[in-house]
């Protein structure tokens, strides 16, 4: 999704945005949640989107950019349709996170932080995701957790995702 047109929130997103403003005593405080809406709407938060959000909130563009660059979950470039964030922190590492990462690299032919040519998969690594008791694990599209991973279960997940809606 290149930023070809000027970004604009949908009606629904604008309603959510208006509601958000009532939660805080300052407009600036709505910045993170507004960026989350933007990421949901556009898939990523590039410079055009940052400028749009700055306008919505009446903040300097430089402030919005400083914030976006601080928080790793905001994508400053497009990512694949399926983003796999594998935890590689200590508890997962002790239970084989390395093998999970390597298994995905081999299966998809990409390195960490790369996207497959068809734009379907991006491989990321994450710091501890609060699932150490069910390690190793990954998070799909910054939402659902897949836990107690094995090489078989990760290959199965990738196969299922590959087949989804094509």
């Amino acid at each position: 999704m290149p930023e070809t047109r000027k970004p604009k929130f949908s009606e629904q997103a604008l309603r959510e945005f208006e509601e958000l403003l009532t939660h805080y005593p300052t407009r600036q405080a709505a910045l993170l949640p507004t960026l989350w809406i933007a990421q949901r709407e556009f898939g990523w938060v590039g410079e055009e989107t940052q400028a749009y959000v700055a306008d919505l909130l009446g903040l300097p563009y430089s402030h919005v950019k400083a914030v976006v660059t601080f928080y790793p979950m905001f994508h400053r470039k497009p990512v694949g349709k399926y983003l796999l964030d594998v935890c590689t922190n200590l508890s997962c590492r002790l239970r084989g996170a390395d093998r999970i990462v390597n298994c995905i690299r081999r299966r998809l032919g990409i390195e960490i932080d790369e996207t497959t040519k068809d734009g379907k998969f991006t491989l990321g690594v994450a710091e501890c995701l609060a699932s150490c008791g069910t390690a190793p694990m990954l998070q799909l599209n910054q939402d659902r957790f897949y836990e107690n991973l094995t090489e078989e279960s990760i290959l199965k997940l990738i196969d299922e995702l590959s087949k989804r809606d094509d």
């Binding site: 928080y71 979950m73 002790l94 501890c128 609060a130």
Partner: protein, 441 residues
């Protein structure tokens, strides 16, 4: 011990409001609103000796008593649901499986400090958990537990959710406040403390999810009952997050003061792959490890772990067996803190990077014995010299691992390679996974 913080194991649908109510839910809130003055709530919590579960173990009632009584400005309560300390996964289940318990705790705390707005700060990855809690908030609002004139008491509280975006430092309470205000999460210099100038320049209490979940029980059953669980000065039920090389990793609710060796060998089913214990970090990645020998004697409560030379932090108990490379472990920890340092303070920004680099070199066989003293020196310059304690959080494990496992570091230098390296898989393979609770398919 009766389960209190993990009731979903006994009452699977406790996340639903009707089930929560049928099991005594929101009775403590009723008591706090109708039968107690704010001062009395604070005193009860003070007398309970409840100490914060977010890592610093600060007495909760005392923290609340710092809020000015007749504040002209609004007072805010922030529930810290950023849970990012490596090895820690208690809040995550609490939010998923028993959201009303923490909401009830928040409401009682608001009454105690006269706050009318509470923010719940979720780490960005807690998408599912935030959704669950938002569902619970909507249910509770519809029933009159949240919003205007709660249960007809005339007391108003709004609870809003706020989502971070993947930075560990947002869990540090002043980093959290900056992030809530729509800024980079740069921790603030103290004083002023949040109790005087917190969110939006107003008096603010920041408490962890697990801390607040204890509050309804203290109000319902009383401080004396609470103090009778575990050691008097560090009492209560505690959520232990057991991970790493044990046969049964998972979340366990046990009384404070539970023996670490019983946690590992009985509750946790012993060391995986039939191996022997080598090291255990008792409180999350920020704290020094215990050797197998030390672990034999430690009781898991704040004061006992401190007396034994580490800290209980968030009770993230990470277990390592004898096929684990301590250099690799310290490198992993150093990488984390280097990645998460916000960069404001030179000793932290540079120190974390330096320790990580020396560890990478040593793991690759390029280290020198003198690097160990350099690291110890860097670590002491990081401690007590920075705005927040993230720097100390790498300094402590650095010193702990190097002093307790020095010969293993020296072996890397002597051999010019990692002694664990050329075996297949390097770190022993995961044996199995017994704990299925978390798979919220």
């Amino acid at each position: 011990m009766e389960r209190i913080l993990t009731r979903w194991l006994d009452i699977p649908d406790i996340r639903r409001l009707d089930v929560y109510e049928a099991n005594g839910g929101y009775q403590a809130l009723r008591k706090a609103l109708f039968d107690m003055k704010p001062e009395e709530i604070i005193n009860e919590v003070k007398n309970s000796n409840l100490r914060g579960r977010g890592g610093a173990a600060f007495p909760t009632g005392t923290k609340w008593s710092f809020i000015p009584k007749d504040s002209k400005k609004p007072v805010y309560l922030c529930c810290n649901a950023d849970e990012s300390e490596p090895g820690t996964f208690a809040n995550r289940y609490q939010l998923e499986f028993d959201p009303h318990q923490v909401l009830e705790g928040i409401l009682i705390a608001c009454r105690a400090v006269n706050a009318h707005v509470a923010y719940m700060y979720f780490r960005g990855e807690f998408t599912h958990q935030k959704r669950t809690v938002e569902g619970a908030i909507a249910e509770a609002r519809a029933k009159g537990y949240i919003g205007k004139n709660i249960m007809g008491s005339g007391f108003d509280v709004e609870i809003y959710t706020h989502r971070g975006a993947g930075a560990y430092i947002c869990g540090e309470e002043t980093g959290l406040l900056e992030s809530l205000e729509g800024k980079r999460a740069y921790p603030r210099n103290r004083p002023p403390f949040p109790a005087i100038q917190g969110a939006f320049g107003c008096p603010t209490v920041v408490n962890n999810v697990e801390t607040l979940s204890n509050v309804p029980w203290i109000i319902k059953k009383g401080a004396d009952w609470y103090r009778s669980i575990g050691p008097e000065k560090s009492p209560g039920p505690k959520l232990f997050c057991l991970s790493g090389h044990v046969n049964k990793p998972g979340l366990y609710e046990l009384p404070m003061g539970f023996p670490l060796k019983d946690l590992i060998y009985d509750v946790g089913g012993g060391i995986s792959d039939g191996r022997k214990l080598k090291a255990v970090i008792p409180g999350g990645a920020s704290f020094p490890p215990f050797t197998a020998e030390e672990a034999e004697k430690v009781m898991m409560d704040f004061d006992s772990v401190r007396a034994a030379g580490s800290l209980m932090g968030t009770a993230g108990v990470m277990v390592m067996h004898d096929d684990t490379c301590m250099v690799d472990v310290l490198r992993t920890i150093a990488h984390f803190f280097h990645h998460e340092s916000c960069g404001q303070c030179t000793p932290c920004r540079e120190g974390c990077g330096w320790i990580e680099k020396l560890m990478i070199d040593m793991e690759a066989g390029r280290g020198k014995v003198s690097d160990l003293d350099v690291m110890l020196n860097v670590a002491s310059n990081m401690e007590g010299n920075t705005i927040c304690v993230l720097a100390d959080s790498l300094a402590m494990p650095t010193r702990g691992f190097i002093t307790k496992f020095r010969s293993e570091f020296e072996d890397h230098v002597r051999l010019g390679r990692c002694p664990f390296r050329d075996r297949d898989g390097r770190l022993a393979p995961p044996a199995h996974a017994a704990y299925q609770e978390g798979d919220h398919a």
